[in-house]
């Protein structure tokens, strides 16, 4: 199931590589499809014999009835084979989709968290459900259709050559003209350019639509309709114009193409008439060519759809591959055991994907069992430090040590056990409250309840219809932000990890939650190595160490008293903090 060789293929090659997972099932499907086509030809062949026997001076009607019987039998068998072929290809397709989805989910679990932060979860869901779904079309329909579309004309043509090679040759004429001329027209540089513009217009329109829908509250309040929002109406109209240009360019080649198909028997007719009247062919052969020699090329043109299909599917596969071939978090080679839970940054530099430096040459030490606060304007790097300690990212330069061991030598599972992270935002799973606190940890009911009590959630959980067994989300209850925050706190208390990173921001945004949580917080942090990402300076005034950050660099380190004397930025922030707290809105 794993992609050990992440060599990148694209287009049909990549699709076939995906299909290769079930190559035997697909080969079986293809084989059945060929049989279906061959059996499907029997009625045509019999028809020729029927005409022949009818044209005999003494028609053998008993033979005709026998022919008809065998034709019926072959029709029935041929359709049973078609069904079997379709089922085989669909079973293969859906199994491949399943495997791809599992691969993607597994991969998402292995990617550095930062990767997911930069991506919209809806976008990933779209890849998982829609983009992967499209592959079904290629595997379940595209491949068998291709085989069918190719077998029928080839076999009919062989049969026709066997009967009369001159007539067979001339019957290929329309095909040859179309096969040479149409691609020439479509691949002309001018047409390629128009096609490119068409795709750009389409993308611009789609972007405009998404923005319009997402910004609906703003649209409403500022009275913007689809007509007046140029990114919407303008791009739709531009797309409309693009389509018109494209259509005008391609209408004539398509028209010639279609006209040739419906008049495909013209060359056969001309040659046949000539040969027939010069006694070159018999009447049944002439008739056979007039009947068969027209329709058999049609399936080939169904193949032309395959091209546009593949390009549609390809966009999705590319997006999927972007996820599947993304770099995993590095694998730990020589794992080491940590001796204590102090933390040290040694000349750490870090930047997010394609972005500016988030941290530059940052060094500090956090002894075990102390509280360190990270402060600084937004974007200064304080949240980044928290995330680096929790192992959500790996730093590009320098070292981060826990108990003297480089984080790179600690397996992610071990590190996760040592660090609790209380996030700024909350997330509850569609599970019972009990499971939402337990989070798969090896803890008993008594411990879960004790943690809930400590986090001040026992009270409100008790008032819910099914207590701890109440389900969250769809068909269950919805908790307020403050309540969710307290559940998160209960999780952290239950986990009781020696290192705690906590984001102080929203814990206090709701007045009714504040005081209840505060005591729980102070209980949680005892005897732990604590890193607080601080927003309210008064909260962390008594921290053992305050690290002041500005644009990814440390601009001061020390206690509140020393910083207020020596660190200009801290002074400024402290003053602003005081002022912000005194703010009152005044009318007039």
């Amino acid at each position: 199931m794993k992609n050990n060789t992440p060599k990148k293929k694209s287009g049909v090659g990549r699709l076939l590589e995906l299909a290769g997972q079930k190559r035997w099932l697909l080969a079986g499907s293809g084989f059945l499809a060929v049989l279906h086509v061959l059996l499907g030809m029997i009625p045509y062949a019999l028809m020729y014999w029927i005409i022949q026997s009818l044209l005999m001076p003494q028609p053998e009607l008993a033979l005709v009835h026998q022919y008809l019987f065998w034709a019926a039998v072959s029709v029935l068998i041929s359709y049973v084979l078609l069904f079997a072929s379709g089922m085989a290809s669909h079973i293969a397709a859906f199994n491949i989709l399943y495997t791809l989805r599992m691969q993607m989910a597994e991969k998402v679990g292995k990617l550095p968290l930062g990767y997911l932060n930069n991506r919209n979860s809806g976008e990933l869901k779209k890849i998982l459900s829609d983009d992967i779904e499209r592959i079904e079309n290629f595997i379940a329909h595209g491949i068998p259709d291709f085989i069918k579309g190719l077998t029928l004309p080839v076999f009919v043509l062989l049969y026709l050559f066997f009967i009369d090679w001159r007539m067979a040759l001339i019957s290929c004429l329309p095909l040859a003209i179309i096969a040479i001329w149409v691609p020439l027209v479509f691949s002309s540089p001018k047409n390629k350019k128009v096609m490119g513009e068409y795709h750009r217009a389409l993308e611009a329109m789609n972007a405009g639509i998404v923005e319009f829908v997402r910004a609906m509250p703003v649209m409403k309040i500022f009275g913007q309709s689809a007509d007046s929002f140029d990114k919407y109406s303008g791009t739709v109209k531009r797309f409309d114009r693009m389509v018109l240009t494209w259509m005008k360019r391609t209408a004539t080649p398509w028209a010639v193409f279609m006209s040739f198909i419906s008049n495909a028997m013209l060359p056969v007719l001309l040659l046949g008439t000539y040969l027939y009247f010069s006694n070159g062919v018999s009447l049944p052969v002439f008739l056979l060519f007039l009947i068969l020699g027209v329709g058999y090329i049609k399936p080939l043109f169904a193949l032309s759809n395959l091209g546009s299909q593949v390009s549609m599917i390809n966009h999705g596969v590319q997006r999927l591959d972007e996820v599947l071939f993304n770099q995993d978090q590095e694998i730990v080679l020589n794992a080491k055991e940590v001796k204590n839970h102090s933390i040290e940054f040694e000349e750490v530099s870090f930047h997010y994907e394609n972005q500016f430096k988030a941290l530059e040459h940052v060094s500090f030490q956090i002894p075990q069992g102390t509280v360190t606060a990270l402060v600084g304007p937004s974007g200064s790097g304080k949240s980044t430090i928290g995330q680096l300690i929790a192992g959500f990212w790996a730093c590009q330069k320098g070292r981060i040590l826990m108990g003297g061991v480089d984080l790179k030598n600690i397996p992610p599972e071990d590190l996760m056990k040592k660090v609790s992270f209380v996030f700024q935002d909350n997330f509850l799973f569609q599970e019972t409250i009990y499971e939402n606190i337990r989070m798969g940890m090896d803890k008993g009911e008594a411990e879960v309840i004790a943690a809930a009590q400590a986090a001040q959630c026992h009270g409100f959980i008790g008032s819910l219809p099914k207590g701890y067994q109440t389900r969250i989300g769809e068909g269950g209850v919805h908790l307020s932000g403050g309540e969710q925050q307290r559940i998160q706190l209960a999780r952290a208390i239950l986990k009781n990890a020696p290192v705690l990173v906590l984001d102080e921001a929203t814990a206090f945004s709701d007045p009714d939650n504040e005081s209840k949580i505060l005591d729980a917080f102070n209980q949680l942090i005892q005897n732990k190595t604590v890193i607080v990402i601080a927003h309210r300076l008064s909260t962390i005034k008594e921290a053992n160490q305050i690290i002041v950050l500005e644009e990814g660099q440390i601009s001061g380190k020390g206690s509140h008293e020393s910083l207020i004397k020596h660190c200009g930025l801290y002074q400024k922030m402290w003053e602003a903090h005081q002022r912000a707290n005194e703010f009152e809105i005044i009318l007039q």
């Binding site: 028609p59 679990g109 409403k220 739709v236 419906s262 030490q365 937004s378 927003h535 707290n581």
Partner: protein, 582 residues
């Protein structure tokens, strides 16, 4: 499906008629070679076939081929024009319609899903309709003319061939029924997989940080496995019925040949007629088989069409008159409101906010503060009671008129992927450059805008990603400033901002509220100490009202909240270790 198509056709009847005309004309050209073929065959069966006549026919065919080049290109253009006129009109219609729906509709449906109606469903319609419309028009036309012709030649054989149609249709109907039944299960399985995966991605930090990738993975795996099974079943169950329809056609054809041979034996049928049926009979079903193949894709199209039409039919908010009130006092009169239709979020709310005064809404989360603000903006409509501005029930006013009177500053800011300038300008598209700068200045944006690489002309990125949270909020205040609406709705929550940004925003707000009727959703009680009126809410009911001094005297919920906040304000992280430098 047909009613859906007819509904859509009404959007551009002219283009549809034009396309139909060309399709019919083109149909004649497509069918004519078959007719010619028949004429040739009959000629060949003459005791003395006339070679010149056959050359003539070939000549006519050649001539018609040339004519067909022209007709076919006209037909293609007309059909494409129809398709794209339909789809692009749909896009605009949907966009305008969406904008007139109540915010309640957006709450009920995921915005991503709504966007996909305009994006994906319209595109599905466009592609499938564009590809199949010619096939189907051709199939219907060809089958009709051929059956008329066959009846004229020999009604007995024709009748047998036609008899296959209702039988085949019956099996298609059964297949259809099975697909609908099974399809519903498939949709459920697909949605479950999507929902599980979404949860998995959104909660991945939590899953990882508690090392429980396994357990949650299992439920996701189960959902995917069920989805796979449902998918296979959806293919397997209706399959045999679709194939039965095809088999019916084939068998009836063979039966017709048998019957024809029988008639030939009894001398009521000539060989040329029998051969004509051999050739034409097959063609009678050929287009229908094409439609059968297209049928599956057509069903996809119909699902998309249904979603489009459902959205178009979603009810817009009603209104009666469209003259804005002269005064901007706000009154709630016994308002009950529920988002879902079951539990009321607001229960019997009444209050009065005089013009140009400030009211603060205070209360625990979930008490109904934000809902009240949403009702004032007519994002939703109250189910009972009335909300009035300037003495007029706002349900009588057009939503856009209500929006004109209101500026909002909410926590969540949405900026467009456009320049800073245009993002502010949306507040009042008629404003001059100078006015935009003034608004920016009053909203404390001037300084950071100057530091941007291209100043006002800097693009802010998708969703404003190039600006910090505080900067985005200030841009949104500048926008509101430019709009200069008489009522200001303010969600004061600056929790995630650093103190300096907070101070900037506070200054900006101070500018914005001048001379306005102001409704503040308050989190920090300090901020709204000066409000003319403080409304304290708890579980959708008004607990107490009054100004700060009065409420502190009463000693109720407000006093409790105030004291809690004071305590929290002075809370400090305490450790066993003394605070000293490390």
């Amino acid at each position: 499906m047909l009613s859906n198509l007819l509904y859509i056709f009404r959007i551009a009847p002219g283009a549809v008629r034009k396309s139909l005309f060309w399709e019919l004309l083109h149909g004649i050209f497509v069918a004519s070679p078959t007719g010619m073929l028949l004429l040739i065959i009959w000629e060949l069966f003459e005791p003395e076939p006339d070679q010149r006549k056959i050359w003539w026919i070939a000549g006519i065919m050649g001539g018609m081929l040339l004519l067909q080049f022209y007709i076919a290109s006209k037909t293609l253009l007309a059909s494409n024009q129809m398709t794209f006129q339909l789809s692009n009109t749909l896009r605009l219609k949907l966009g305008n319609h969406l904008q007139r729906l109540s915010m309640g509709y957006f709450k009920k449906r995921d915005p991503g899903d709504l966007a996909s109606v305009v994006l994906q469903d319209v595109a599905n319609f466009e592609t499938i309709f564009g590809h199949t419309v010619g096939n189907i028009a051709g199939a219907v036309f060809a089958t009709l003319t051929l059956s008329v012709f066959l009846f004229a030649v020999d009604w007995r054989l024709a009748l047998l061939l036609i008899a296959a149609l209702p039988l085949g249709y019956l099996f298609v109907k059964i297949a259809n029924w099975v697909i609908t039944k099974q399809g519903a299960k498939l949709v459920l399985a697909r949605n479950a997989t999507g929902a599980r995966f979404l949860e998995y991605v959104q909660g991945i930090r939590f899953i990882k940080s508690y090392g429980m990738t396994g357990a949650h993975f299992k439920s996701l795996e189960r959902a995917m496995r069920d989805f796979k099974k449902a998918s296979i079943r959806t293919e397997a169950l209706p399959g045999p019925f679709v194939l039965l329809a095809a088999i019916i056609f084939e068998l009836f054809f063979l039966g017709m040949v048998g019957l024809g041979v029988g008639y030939f034996e009894t001398g009521t049928l000539s060989i040329p007629v029998l051969i004509a049926f051999l050739i034409m009979g097959y063609r009678l079903y050929e287009p229908l088989k094409v439609v059968l193949v297209d049928y599956v894709t057509l069903r996809y199209m119909n699902i998309s069409l249904t979603r489009i039409i459902d959205l178009l039919k979603a009810e817009e908010q009603e209104w009666e008159e469209d003259c804005p009130p002269e005064h901007f006092d706000i009154a709630f009169d016994h308002v009950n409101f529920s988002y879902t239709g079951d539990e009321n979020v607001l229960k019997g709310i009444s209050f009065y906010i005089p013009e140009k005064s400030m009211v603060a809404l205070v209360g625990p989360s979930g008490s109904g503060k934000t809902t009240i603000a949403n009702l004032i903006a007519r994002f939703w409509d109250a189910q009972q009671g009335s909300v009035m501005i300037g003495g007029i029930d706002i349900q009588l006013l057009a939503p856009h008129t209500v929006y004109q009177m209101i500026s909002e500053v909410f926590q969540e800011v949405y900026l467009f992927d456009d320049t800073v300038y245009n993002n502010i300008l949306i507040g009042n598209p008629k404003a001059s450059k100078e006015q935009v700068w003034q608004a920016a200045k009053a909203a404390q944006c001037q300084e950071f805008i100057r530091s941007l690489p291209q100043g006002m002309e800097t693009r802010v990125g998708e969703g404003g990603s190039r600006l910090s949270g505080g900067q985005k909020q200030r841009v949104s205040i500048a926008r509101a400033m430019l709009k200069d609406a008489p009522i200001v709705l303010l969600d004061e929550a600056t929790a995630s901002l650093d103190p300096e940004n907070e101070v900037y925003i506070q200054r900006a707000i101070q500018q914005l509220v001048k001379d306005k009727t102001v409704v503040v959703i308050a989190h920090k009680l300090q901020t709204i100490k000066n409000a003319n009126q403080i409304i304290v809410l708890d579980q959708g009911r008004i607990k107490e009202t009054g100004d700060h001094t009065y409420l502190m005297e009463v000693g109720g919920l407000y006093t409790q909240l105030w004291n809690q906040q004071q305590k929290a304000q002075s809370w400090k992280i305490k450790t066993m270790m003394p605070a000293n430098e490390i």
